[in-house]
């Protein structure tokens, strides 16, 4: 295209040709379709598509494990903020919680993933992670002169892990549970680097769960079987607690050191502990505001 005197028209005033317009319109339409139909985060999905996605997921797990698996998407309960308390004066370091958690939450057996890590500490030194030993293996616990600090996700109110996620795959739910959408996790492990408690774990290999041991009562944001290459962590047993039940570790603890409840309910166990016992949080100076409290009942 040229003017009468033969000089080219400056680009910015060049009119749009029919072909250009059609191409761009087609591209925009394709963009619209992809945005609406492509993968979405849990809460961005329309209801019907979420139902379908969950049904597909259940079918996939059923084929993989040869059993009926239910995937729940139970939402947070209004007026509930979960918190946890652990009595350090009671814990005897028996690791029953660790393995109850593995069974409940479908963690990989080999390579091994443990959401709870129990540290053995010397009584004279107090809670000091530089001196703590997670690999203790005496014939019997508790050992003389030692106490035990189990550590799992602290469900921080000011969580450093969710801030660094480049894909928005991890966030804090209104009931205070920090969750991960495994379909959005790209496995960059920034969150693991950001977590000061070592509470996040990575699936370095395809998780192995014996078919017979699979817990078929699962939640989308919790214990549904994970693929290789995603990060996972404690979710306060979201599949149980959103149905009103106690987490598995609370129910298995032989000394009753683990307590769980609703922070917003003045009659809850957790409020009683905070109001009546000596309570602390781990690494308070980092201002992560954990909702996992440690206390001394005696």
């Amino acid at each position: 295209m040229a003017t009468n005197d033969g000089s080219p028209v400056p680009a910015r005033t060049r009119p749009v040709t029919r072909r250009q317009f059609a191409t761009c319109a087609a591209a925009a339409a394709a963009g619209f379709v992809l945005t609406a139909c492509g993968p979405k985060r849990l809460y961005e999905m329309p209801r019907a598509r979420l139902t379908q996605a969950i049904r597909d997921m259940e079918a996939r797990y059923a084929a993989q494990y040869g059993t009926t698996v239910s995937v729940s998407d139970a939402p947070p309960i209004a007026g509930v903020e979960f918190a946890y308390a652990l009595d350090i004066s009671r814990c005897i370091g028996c690791r029953r919680c660790v393995y109850a958690c593995v069974d409940e939450n479908n963690q990989s057996r080999d390579s091994q993933v443990h959401w709870i890590r129990v540290f053995s500490m010397e009584k004279g030194k107090g809670v000091d992670f530089t001196e703590a030993d997670p690999y203790y293996a005496p014939a019997e616990v508790p050992e003389e002169g030692h106490f035990y600090v189990p550590v799992a996700c602290q469900q921080c109110k000011n969580a450093p892990c969710t801030k660094v996620c480049p894909t928005g795959a991890t966030w804090t739910e209104p009931d205070g549970i920090v969750v991960i959408d495994y379909d959005w996790c790209i496995g960059c492990r920034y969150c693991m680097a950001a977590c000061p408690y070592g509470a996040r774990h990575f699936n370095w290999s395809e998780p192995t769960i014996p078919k017979a041991a699979l817990n078929t009562n699962t939640h989308y944001l919790g214990n549904r079987p994970r693929p290789k290459g995603v990060v996972e962590k404690c979710t306060f047993c979201i599949q149980r607690t959103r149905n009103g039940r106690y987490p598995a570790c609370v129910e298995v603890c032989p000394v009753g050191a683990r307590k769980f409840g609703n922070l917003l309910d003045p009659a809850s166990e957790i409020r009683y502990i905070i109001e009546h016992k000596r309570v602390m949080v781990l690494k308070e100076d980092l201002n992560t505001l954990p909702k996992f409290f440690y206390f001394y009942a005696t």
């Binding site: 963009g31 809460y43 961005e44 209004a78 509930v80 209104p174 009103g244 609370v250 009683y272």
Partner: protein, 190 residues
Amino acid sequence: MKPAILLGAAMLACAAAVAAVEQRPGPQPSAPQTSSPQTPASQASAPAAEERLEVPPPPFTDGIFPCSACHKDLKVNRARRELVEMHTEIELKHDAEHRWCLDCHDANDRDHLHLASGELVSFDESYRLCGQCHGEKLRDWRAGVHGRRTGDWNGHKRYLLCANCHNPHQPRFKAIEPKPAPQRPARPGK
């Protein structure tokens, strides 16, 4: 080119609006459950704390209860002595210096325990007996803080009796074998 970009932007805005409309209302569906934390169980620590709590049966040795099956024909012997004919497995390590069987077990009604006041309590209410000395533990237990709870955090909770965890004759917790330690991470080249 410009109209196309505008069109694209408009379409994306539309898509966003649609997505926003379709967004699932988070906490709404289960709003009725909000009131459930206020169930009677979670108010056990309230003034009505003296109500009887639902507890499992006391951990009797098989066939030992009712005690009166044997004791009704036996003469009461209040003397502090070594038991040789029966109950030889009981080794009292619970302030043994100051305590003897009949301080807790009732001499006249063997199927009950008695408080310091003389009031008889059944074995499934033994926490009242324990609470005479361990008052702060009883208080914590009623609040759900001492001892294991199972069931629902906002509903029906199952309690355990003191004796389900602590042998009343030797209440100190026995050491147990820990579950295996986690594997150490594999390091390449090692």
